[in-house]
């Protein structure tokens, strides 16, 4: 599995964990009566809190993965060829981890899929509100569709890394 694929898997796992934690927290509080379906402010605060946790977790995870990958690649190269120059090791590590035109195309195509789900979620959330459901339902449809869009984006990226990608 390449560095880009590992990065995508980590991002998906982090996103899934944060979504699961949010669901446990928010719907647990709803079940016990602490959160009211009409208290939009409290739901929005919970969503903002978990969004923040997700962003921090994603950044920490990506930094950790980048460091671990660089160390492992360098160690593997040094084991294979103990006399190789540090510059060569550095070049191999940066080549493996760098973004190039293929990775950018894959990110773009995956982003389109993610946006499609998030966009459908926005429309669905408005429909939920228009149909007379409480504001909590509207906010949850919106929040969960953004999460689902992000997960789909990761899934499409993994698929394209494996299957290949064509222009157009």
């Amino acid at each position: 599995m390449s560095y880009h694929e590992k990065k995508t898997v980590l991002s998906m796992v982090t996103g899934l964990a944060v979504l699961a934690a949010y669901c446990l927290h928010a719907f647990g509080r709803l079940g016990s009566g602490i959160l009211s379906p009409d208290d939009g402010r409290a739901w929005a605060q919970a969503m903002l809190l978990f969004t923040g946790i997700g962003v921090v977790a994603a950044i920490v995870g990506q930094i950790g993965l980048a460091i671990a990958t660089a160390v492992l690649l360098a160690a593997r190269r040094k084991l294979r060829d103990p006399d190789c120059a540090d510059k060569a090791v550095e070049r191999e590590v940066s080549s493996e981890m760098a973004d190039d035109e293929m990775s950018k195309l894959i990110e773009l195509k995956a982003l389109q899929a993610g946006f499609a789900v998030a966009g459908a979620g926005i429309i669905a959330s408005l429909a939920v509100l228009a149909l007379g459901f409480p504001v909590a339902a509207m906010l949850n449809v919106l929040f969960l569709s953004l999460g689902a869009g992000s997960l789909l984006e990761g899934g499409v990226q993994l698929l394209l890394w494996r299957r290949g990608v064509k222009h157009g």
Binding site: R91, S95, E96, E101, G164, V165
Partner: protein, 78 residues
């Protein structure tokens, strides 16, 4: 209706004739990741024109000697 065509390449062969140049070496020369070279070599990704020129330049050959535009189904006929 236009014929269905596809881009094929001779990167593996050219690497062999370049003293069994590794995919990593070619990636370094072309300025992309090894994974992108693997994908191009396996016909899973068609490079941009600029990258195609950079790959040809890495082998010191013309672009037409690396990439060919052929009818689908003729990929294996050389």
């Amino acid at each position: 209706m236009a014929e269905r065509k596809t881009i094929i390449n001779r990167i593996r062969e050219l690497r062999f004739f370049a003293g069994e140049m590794s995919q990593q070496q070619l990636a370094d020369r072309a300025g992309v990741s090894r994974q992108t070279i693997v994908a191009i070599e396996g016909n899973k990704y068609s490079p941009s024109l600029e990258l195609a020129f950079r790959i040809a330049d890495a082998f010191s050959v013309k672009i037409g000697e690396v990439f060919e535009y052929v009818n689908k189904g003729e990929e294996g006929h050389e």
